[in-house]
């Protein structure tokens, strides 16, 4: 005799579902998540978790945190990151130390998986919330992340 209880449960579950969507419908005015992009380009702020491209933040003395350990290069599954590095003699201690020359990032190859950022021991590279990445020539998608003349921040060791 589950016939009548089936009908009862069926109607009950249908009404439950309709109340859920009904609430969404009534709040649609406030809750619409669509961004009318080209119109609100000046005010559109991407949320923090958005993965636009990988950048290397620099402070006001033009210093970054990349030690040139190449863990990001190894972690990258499709070779979007290339690091050109050298060993230079530190004038104070006289020891040879690894230092990056160029941190080359191919945005065109990047799948935004984020493994490089997870791998970085010194938090030298982070996600930027930049989304206007289209260019007329793909060579523009190859970027050097460290600014010219930048040096390693003091006290950053891996």
């Amino acid at each position: 005799m589950s016939y009548f209880s089936d009908i009862y449960n069926g109607i009950k579950s249908l009404l439950t579902g309709m109340s859920v969507t009904g609430k969404v419908f009534l709040n649609a005015r406030k809750g619409a998540i669509t961004q009318e992009y080209p119109d609100n380009r000046d005010t559109l702020k991407m949320f923090d978790r958005f993965r636009g491209e990988v950048v290397m933040p620099h402070d006001e003395h033009n210093e970054h945190r990349c030690t040139g350990c190449q863990k990001c290069e190894i972690a990258c599954p499709n070779g979007s990151i290339e690091i050109v590095w050298d060993r230079k003699i530190n004038p104070e201690t006289g020891k040879k130390k690894k230092e990056i020359d160029q941190h080359i990032y191919h945005l065109g190859l990047c799948t935004m998986c984020g493994l490089c950022i997870e791998a970085c021991p010194t938090d030298a590279i982070v996600w930027a919330q930049n989304y206007e990445n289209s260019v007329y020539d793909r060579s523009h998608l190859t970027k050097v992340l460290n600014q010219p003349g930048s040096i390693l921040m003091d006290g950053v060791e891996d």
Partner: protein
Amino acid sequence: MNISLSITKTIHDWLFSIMPESVASITEMVLIATVYLAVFAVFGLYLVLLERKVAAWFQLRLGPNRVGFKGLFQTMADALKLVSKELTGTEKADKFLYNLAPYFVIITALMALAVFPFTQEFHAFDINIGIFFLIAISSIGVIGILLGGWSSNNKFALIGAMRSGVQTISYELSVGLSLLTMVLITGSLQLSEIVEVQKSGWLIVQGHIPAIIAFMIYMIAGTAETNRAPFDLVEAESELGAGFHTEYSGMKFAYFFLAEFINMFIISAIATTVFFGAWLSPFGITDSIPWLGVFWFLGKTLVIVIVMMWFRWTFPRLRIDQLLTLEWKYLLPINLVNIIVMAFIVWQNLIIQF
């Protein structure tokens, strides 16, 4: 204050004064048909827009808002685009039936519109078998779907059409029986008399419990009749491409599409007429202004249309065996019992009348 009503009467008198009676009545029919065609073609387009907007709101989107003020001309632009498109077809299609099928669907949809009482005197064709005519006409549409699926020489279209046949023939029973339940109260199939009975309370109030059950069954079966989600096995996108109209393009596709929305309007309009008092205002608040009846009729119909859209964007699609189980094991037996309950209530005069 009966402006709009006197316009139809004035035109009627004027036509009969300037030409012989037979010519005048034919001219009148042609005029009414043209007006209905024009009005409901545009109305169907706006139903499509409403559907898209409502869908957007259910999914927390904005919906079309670019063409015209707040997107009001979006579907007009779509229709223009469809008119200008090439009419393609399959190589081995049965050309005659293939071209005929869309007209079956759209003509039956438009024919059914003739009998609705939009307001007291704005009633194109007050036929004495009104409800019966509506049920009969609305089931001719399935022939168009079957022909379209069969003749386009495409297995997805054929499967979609066959599913439509199974579904429409099954659910036709429930639509008919649930309307019959209400006819037990009114004692007439004529739509104007059904409205007359409802002047002492809408039928859903008069018939109380069995009427509410009949209304629920009618809404389920009506949604299935129009081949809309959750009963859209006919054009299940994930399984069959576009179902029976896979091979149609341009204006022929637009006919199928428009017919679907006009059918939805028809199902809602029948529900309005039979359950919610057609053009009667609640508690007779606007009885002194007869032309507001059009407003009440369309208002009630649109509310039911939005409920059907609510179904569509809430429930997942049924499997074919679930679809048939729902009809033959649940709706039909409940409906038959409901008719007996209603007959008992009418016999014992237990209806609620004001």
